[in-house]
Homo-oligomer: 326 residues x 2
């Protein structure tokens, strides 16, 4: 089996195009309608600059708007709090995100800062109240975190089945606040049977092998491998070329949907090459579907952020207005 490579790049274009069309249509009836994403950046990390520029650019491209609030690395928790509160009260801001990690000289509790964001403007879905709603399956009352939302969208679109997750065995590697934990909740409430693995899980490979859908968000380059990769590597090392060794080192159930959320920078400091948590070349011989890195979950995350911003703008700005006119 050779896996279908699920292009997040292509699907993200589709999402963004769809949001762009909706904004244009809304403006036919409401010429002043806007969807504005505020990005709060503390300091000046170069990787953050790259991500922020991508978000602002994509928003602009489809007719939404972005606003960068760039704050000095000397800012205090109190001043940062005031910035967030001002954005909460700014009627022209629809979504607020805080670019992580913070690059700051003073100690700042990033979770406490994010928790100040108005839940209705929390387009990253990272406030505790929205995380709590998601954990309890209140899907209509929360905002889905962008990376897990992108993962779900890819599964639904690539399989052509909005209910594909239901009844499937889903294994999530990693339990971070941003990807692993909310992905587990999102797939659980789309009726998957979800197992969460982490650094304290023994025999992770054995758990992965159960997965109909494998979501990898563990932050280690090529952690998950496929059968062929290991065979070829051993053949190469041992000089075996004709008589293949069969070894049990595979991590992926044949036909599984493998979603790679990893973004790992390679060892070479001169190159900006990014590696996933899954060894794509190896895994694609076993998996049924596979998201590549780069060009998989990454662009979907940006697209879902802009989609969330539009949805919140629509709800807030057009509340009580006729649905037809939206």
């Amino acid at each position: 089996m050779v896996a279908e490579i699920v292009s997040g790049l292509e699907y993200s274009k589709k999402v963004l195009q769809d949001v762009g069309e909706k904004i244009a249509k809304t403006r036919e009836h409401h010429p002043h309608f806007d969807a504005v994403l505020a990005i709060v950046q503390v300091g000046n990390r170069s990787d953050s600059n790259v991500y922020i520029n991508a978000k602002l650019k994509k928003a602009k491209e489809i007719g939404a708007n972005g606003k960068l609030i760039k704050l000095p690395d000397t800012i205090t928790q109190g001043d940062l709090k005031r910035e967030i509160m001002a954005l909460n009260h700014d009627n022209n801001i629809d979504g607020i995100i805080v670019q992580l990690p913070l690059d700051c000289k003073h100690e700042i509790d990033a979770d406490a800062i994010i928790d100040l964001i108005d839940p209705l403007k929390d387009v990253d879905g990272l406030t505790r109240i929205n995380a709590g709603r998601l954990a309890r399956g209140e899907l209509q009352r929360t905002i889905f975190p962008c990376t897990p939302f992108g993962c779900l969208y890819l599964v639904q679109q690539a399989t052509g089945n909005p209910n594909f997750v239901s009844g499937k065995e889903v294994v999530v590697l990693g339990r971070s606040k941003i990807v692993g934990s909310p992905a587990a909740a999102l797939f659980l409430w789309h009726h998957g049977t979800v197992t969460i693995c982490h650094s304290k899980t023994p025999n992770i490979k054995e758990k992965c092998l159960r997965a109909d859908i494998l979501i990898v968000a563990i932050g280690r380059k090529h952690y998950v491998k496929g059968e062929k990769y290991c065979q070829l590597k051993i053949e190469k090392m041992c000089g075996i070329s004709k008589k293949r060794m069969l070894i049990d080192t595979d991590w992926i159930k044949p036909g599984a949907f493998v979603i790679d959320c990893g973004i790992n920078v390679g060892d070479d400091p001169t190159s900006r090459k990014i590696y996933g948590d899954v060894d794509t070349e190896a895994a694609k011989e076993v998996a049924g579907y596979l998201t590549p890195v780069p060009g998989g979950v990454g662009p979907m995350t940006v697209a879902m952020l802009i989609r969330n911003t539009y949805e919140q703008a629509r709800r807030r700005r057009l509340a009580g207005k006729d649905e037809d006119e939206q």
Copy 2:
């Protein structure tokens, strides 16, 4: 193997005695110290009356205090909201719970009501913000829901190992807000590898068989069975007595820790007999540890509620005071 029956009744006495001693000791330095649990009841369900009386009685027994706020079934959402807000502002109340289900004539959004409780007085751990904190592993900043907390305590105490959960395969049946979902989060953040099963999970038996720790909160009488039970039943039906049939109908991994959160009323309306989700007689032949119903998780839930109330009273009333004097 015959399972050790883990008496929640006995362990709950230990928890309550410990809390009672702490209250007495605190009063040596702070004679006016109190720990007061407010229970909000809407209507007059007879089962609720039984549970509420048990909570108030246990609190009294160990020197804490309870206050029942019994409201008519004609109350509106607005009036109920005002009751909660008054309790939030009442300096003499340390914990607030809303007895569920509500018995009311008007439509009331119980989740929205519970969410009004001050997170620091949320001793049932059911507000969205506390659920969000638990889901993300912020264990120091949340309050553990009482039933999952009782389950964890039983595992730690019966095995004599506070880290018993770490690295274990934990399977949770059910994803309710009160038991299944928070139990999954609590055991995950005690480093179990957690799988959550529910009504859309196929082959639940197969998933249960993986569990080192099986938490059953599915609300169906004797849903989980043991091998012997099935054998005996078939022998009885078929008249086979000497030549035993071996059939694959067992749900429990030999030696597993089985926690039964079920409270199911039997079919006989004249008896008040309560059944668990696990067939204890059958399961005890396979499991390593087994919590009975009644006398297992039920009394632990009450004990943990009072413990949570004491802890919040200590934090709120003695904030800033010398730890030695507490």
